[in-house]
Chain length 289, copies 2
């Protein structure tokens, strides 16, 4: 049997501040509002295992088009649209628990303020991601848009000789590299470019550490929901430095063939991956493949 590989776990792997807070609020809800029907508006975080655990306690995700008239509704960490927030406000018998990540809330406020002040607001993110559909709803449709790459920026932004006023921000879990690329492209525009680096520190630290680990190790395991955008990005970043990178949701997906002849295995996990899922993977690796 070959020598056990050295396992290096990223210090920044797993739950960020906003996710910890959201999961804590959801876990506390059954005791706090006993007797009430408790639901989360969409999955509370992008991790099926955590969502299943909560469902077992009676906290179940519901679709955004089937809001109940009463009971308790938990707004998930990604936040919701302005329209939905207003609709919820109107339901006087419905108790709201707002688990929107404070960093997402800050980004929503920036969109609202900048759009109202007449800036062209550019949000860097994935158009279909719930955080992003929330963010864009806080701006005026006429001057607020989502871009995923430099190519998505309308050409007349660059060709105009008239000074423009642009406000740039990002989905809180965006990659710093894409943010830098898009901001750099906009720098040549005449006028004002107001960049809000809304990428949360936990995200940028997690990305930097994963990149570093990917360079040092022979193999990388990224743990997290397949529906988790930040986990997918972490995997993509890792793969750039280390071809032997794997994205798994749970320990059952580990394949011993991946580790044959490997000296060091690096591990990181997305912002919505609970510690117990990471621990299970580490335990399995430590006990041999």
């Amino acid at each position: 049997m070959s020598k056990r590989p050295l396992i290096k776990i990223a210090k920044t792997a797993g739950f960020c501040f906003g996710v910890k807070r959201a999961v804590k609020l959801a876990n506390e809800a059954p005791a706090k509002y006993s007797g009430c029907s408790i639901s989360t508006l969409g999955p509370i975080i992008h991790n099926p295992q955590v969502v299943n655990q909560l469902a077992g306690k009676g906290v179940k995700p519901i679709g955004l088009d089937s809001i109940p008239d009463s009971g308790v509704a938990i707004v998930r960490s990604h936040g919701i649209t302005r329209k939905l927030a207003r609709k919820l406000d109107e339901r006087s018998a419905l108790k709201l628990v707002d688990a929107t990540c404070p960093f997402v809330r800050r980004a929503q406020k920036i969109v609202a303020e900048m759009s109202r002040a007449g800036y062209q607001v550019i949000i860097i993110g994935e158009p279909e991601h719930p955080e992003v559909t929330g963010l864009i709803s806080y701006g005026e449709p006429a001057n607020t848009r989502v871009v995923s790459s430099v190519e998505d920026i309308p050409g007349d932004f660059f060709s105009s000789r008239k000074p423009s006023r642009i406000a740039l921000l990002a989905q809180t879990t965006q990659s710093q590299q894409i943010y830098n690329e898009i901001a750099a492209a906009l720098l040549t525009i005449k006028g004002e470019l107001r960049c809000f680096n809304t990428i949360c520190t936990a995200t940028s630290d997690r990305q930097s550490e994963a990149l570093q680990l990917a360079k040092e190790c022979d193999c990388m395991i990224i743990i997290g929901g397949r529906n988790s955008a930040n986990t997918n990005r972490l995997y993509e970043l890792s793969r750039k430095c280390q071809a032997d990178s794997y994205h798994i949701e749970t320990v059952d997906e580990l394949n011993p063939d991946w580790f044959a002849d490997k000296q060091t295995i690096g591990i990181s996990a997305g912002a919505s991956t609970p510690q117990w899922l990471i621990d299970e993977v580490v335990r399995k690796l430590e006990n041999g493949n």
Copy 2:
């Protein structure tokens, strides 16, 4: 005798809007204020030949420490410090003609507003240049600084985990490349980076065209005052693409050896170079060396 080289003159060579305006105001002053003593606070533009011409008409530059109590004083295109502007305001018998470039005036206002609003204001420029000493004077000393390169930015700007609010702008004749480099370095800072691209269109267009010409031609002549920062920058840019680049102030400095065996000669000139100086150089080149 060898075949005459083809001469390509940059469309953007010479006087920009602000310089044209300043020289016009200075030329009109003797007729408008006949009988008055007329002076410019420092050289009206950074071109000794133009300054000499004006001196012949009685419009002479004076030192900033020897402001007269009466007569007419012309504020040069680069603008002046806030302190000097206040001092001049107090001399009720002194008539002021403000030839500050409107783009410089706009940059001064940005410094004042951003500094007052509590931003860390960063001006990209040459610390000793009169436009820059003017610009910095409009900010509070505690939060306004001049940088010439990324290395000039204090390290704690990057290491701080606390979100910062930074306002970035540039001397109007800065190179777009340096502006982009410094802005790009600041993008990773948490918080807000408010970039004002105060580089005037004439400057960036002149730089782009000179670079293009330098690539196309066998030799480049950059005409302009040796004390003209934007001319020096134009020369530096040209030299990067074309080793046979020369900076001259007047036609007398042309050296026939430079053009032996050259097929094409490119010509550009700084923002403070008058058309007649450019014409003299072109005439001499066209009539053979």
